[in-house]
Symmetry: C2
Subunit: 136 residues, 2 copies
Amino acid sequence: MIDEANALLGNKNLSRTPCRVDVLRTLLESGSALSETEIRNKLSYTFDRTTIYRTLRSFLDQDVIHSIALEGGDVRYAITRHKHKSKEHFHAHFYCDGCNNVYCLPRPEFTPPVLPEGFAASGYDLIINGRCKSCN
Amino acid sequence: MIDEANALLGNKNLSRTPCRVDVLRTLLESGSALSETEIRNKLSYTFDRTTIYRTLRSFLDQDVIHSIALEGGDVRYAITRHKHKSKEHFHAHFYCDGCNNVYCLPRPEFTPPVLPEGFAASGYDLIINGRCKSCN
DNA sequence: GTATATTTGCAACAATGTTGCAAAATCTAA
DNA sequence: TTAGATTTTGCAACATTGTTGCAAATATAC
């Protein structure tokens, strides 16, 4: 995982600092999206909160990770694994009411909704609620 | 609008206090979803932040309003106008990159995505990004 | 109008978003 | 491999939002 983290950082022109490697490794190892607090608790080392905040922001800027906004203002972060060939981005995530985990989903079949006159869409974010395999 | 607000409160067993009427009127008058700060700035009177917070929470509990979570942890609130007959809820909103406003949309045509084995959906939240009529 | 049930304002504290700045680490080029 | 340039880090600081307890004020029911 650390090798993968290092490679990812190299590709994106992000210097390989301990915090970045640690955060990236943590996200790579996680099967679900993590909140900032969860990330902090899973790190091997201790870093200042600001540093983690800025690390996440750098990753977001470089599209190494993406954020998922949940009801109640909760935010989770996950590695960006699915490439978006088309100009219209489409993110789909699954939120489990049982374990509160968020999982990234591949782009589903989707009929773009008809929008009111004059509105133009450039992307879609879909969050599906329900029960995951473990909580069903 | 105040009459409508009063009626709504009565229907939901919520006492008609000045803060509740004021918040509800503000949301009823708004064509788009509002953040807590926007609501506070549009109120006719001044209330403690906690009171507004608890007012919003009461409204959410009673489904008088619903919240929309945006990228970056931004949260907006809007009157719940669309009834959900089916057990599966489906909320669709439009976020305009130009004016940053959020508009509620009617339930669109939608093919539920195929989920991984063992996953069961109970609801969907779709946020469409793009440009609204005014910003196009 | 009075009694009971709710709501409000205030104090307080946690989590998160955000910036400036000097010290420390990283990277680049010789 | 090191010196210098560039980035990143830690810390201080402050804003916003989420959240609770409690006593005072208000609303609703009788």
